[in-house]
Symmetry: C2
Subunit: 316 residues, 2 copies
């Protein structure tokens, strides 16, 4: 296990964030089980505060820092769920959040950050300009950066998600989406501690398969020009998450765009749950590999539910 | 209390249907509470088996009859949630379900009934032809009719829904949608028994306001040419449900179509839950009457989540 992340630190994180996050339900669905032949338990982090598991890492980050450390607020660059989760966590602790967002970010995400009183600085939609703009924000404000995944606190945060999920300890498989790798590496640490025989799998879009290539090539490959509807899974793995994934994860699957949309719609239609495309890659992996999952007790983490309801992939 | 429905019969129904229905979660949402000024607890019957509270009445109907009574199966006429709930209950008990549906019924509803192995007979989309066709089906099959709401079993079924909901007994208000009145009358019986000081309210579309006019006029008014997006609330009150509503319900609110759509979208967007328009009328009533609900602990039953995902009211 990585020396900087112990299982005890995950248990501490769980206590720390408990007042600020939901204990989300685990839901099963008979018709999806029949359709897949798999025995699936859905951990509903789409019902989490601010609509995604990111609230766990953001709250853990904000509440583990001392008053002195956060006296000038917190900051990050993010176009997605971490941005609103961090703005919300900062609002609860009554400190400012400085959020760098690309000027192309969807209005619905910008509105969500503003809803939680985040101070937005827009930048050009390149990683270089995001980092440069964040650097300037830090120089000006003195705010503490909370990275969306490449920070031990935003790994132990989502690691708490399956503390409860694997309570029964008899899962054959636990599977998460993988983007930057915070949810996956955190989950792997917790699961391998609680239930060493449980396999930890991940899924990502074939159009953004850097984790897949890094994992099997055992060498970090950055995400270059990824193309996928799963906008939460565009980023590269982090330098902290990659080694944890190499050490603890068993398999990574890539899935096709059409299967992502099909899986997303299945969950909407049969389970009455709104999930974003990124959250559908795990069920998509089961749909594309039915024989492998047949009859196995599989926990999957529905990572988030933030989506623009005016633009759905099946309505042209 | 109505002599034919005792609180004990509700408790018996709860035990009878327990193996076949979900104990659905109760979910709160901070941002909707802030927006409304009300303290709302959402009972998620949209997450119920077959996507609606109707599974409670259908299972109670099917499982309270003797083997002899149901030897030829069960039947109903319904274009909506009761049709699939009854087909599912019959499938579990391994008897045939004969469902009369108007030929105009949406494909998604027809598919759902077929998914549960229901035998469909199509008819013209008039109440007269629905009843006439059902009569012929009964003559031919000898099946037992299970009415969607005007039957004590399909009143005590949904009455079980808030057995759990009012567990804490300190709600100021419990509110349900009202169509035929099964959910409302069942809820009223349970709530007034468990917590006599809790007010029981109902909401319906202003374009289908027969319950409103019947309730305040104290005289049954049928639903004639109702026009509303809330397709589950088109029917008239039943002869059994109307007197229970008169006796136990405190207020009925009518709501505008635009508010129904707004409330529905709010629940989709903020709670990540898919509900059908009929399930949104209660939150719509709160949005249209904020002062009345301000600061009050209010339980609302999200009645169902069956909707055609290809046609959403906010996408033209």
């Amino acid at each position: 296990m990585n020396p900087s992340i112990t299982f005890e630190s995950v248990e501490h994180a769980a206590k720390r964030i408990e007042p600020y996050v939901h204990r989300t339900p685990i839901i099963t669905n008979a018709s999806i089980n029949t359709l897949t032949g798999c025995n699936i338990y859905f951990k509903c982090e789409n019902l989490q505060k601010a609509g995604a598991f990111k609230s766990r890492g953001a709250c853990n980050g904000v509440f583990s820092l001392s008053r002195k450390e956060i006296k000038n607020g917190v900051c990050t660059h993010s176009s997605g769920n971490h941005a609103q989760a961090l703005a919300r966590a900062a609002m609860i602790r009554d400190i400012p959040a400085w959020i760098v967002m690309p000027e192309t970010a969807p209005k619905v995400k910008v509105d969500a950050v503003r809803h939680y009183k985040g101070n937005i600085t827009f930048c050009k939609p390149t990683l270089a300009d995001r980092e440069h703009t964040l650097k300037k924000v830090i120089e000006k404000t003195g705010a503490q950066e909370i990275h969306p995944y490449n920070d031990y606190k935003t790994i132990t945060g989502p690691a708490t998600c399956c503390l409860n999920h694997t309570g029964s300890r008899d899962f054959d498989i636990i599977m998460t989406p993988v983007g930057g790798g915070g949810l996956l590496s955190g989950t792997a640490i917790t699961v391998k501690q609680i239930s060493p025989d449980t396999k930890v799998y991940a899924a990502e879009p074939s159009g953004a398969d850097d984790a897949y290539r890094s994992f099997y090539g055992k060498k970090f490959v950055p995400s270059i020009n990824p193309v996928t509807i799963a906008d939460g899974l565009l980023t590269s793995l982090g330098t902290l998450t990659f080694p944890i994934i190499i050490e603890h994860v068993d398999e990574i699957f890539t899935v096709q765009e059409q299967t992502i949309i099909k899986a997303m719609r299945l969950i909407w239609e049969r389970m009455k749950l709104i999930i974003e495309p990124s959250a559908a890659v795990t069920l998509a992996a089961i749909l594309e590999n039915k024989a492998l999952f047949e009859g196995r007790k599989t926990g999957i983490i529905l990572s988030g539910g933030n989506i623009d309801l005016d633009h759905l992939p099946w309505i042209k």
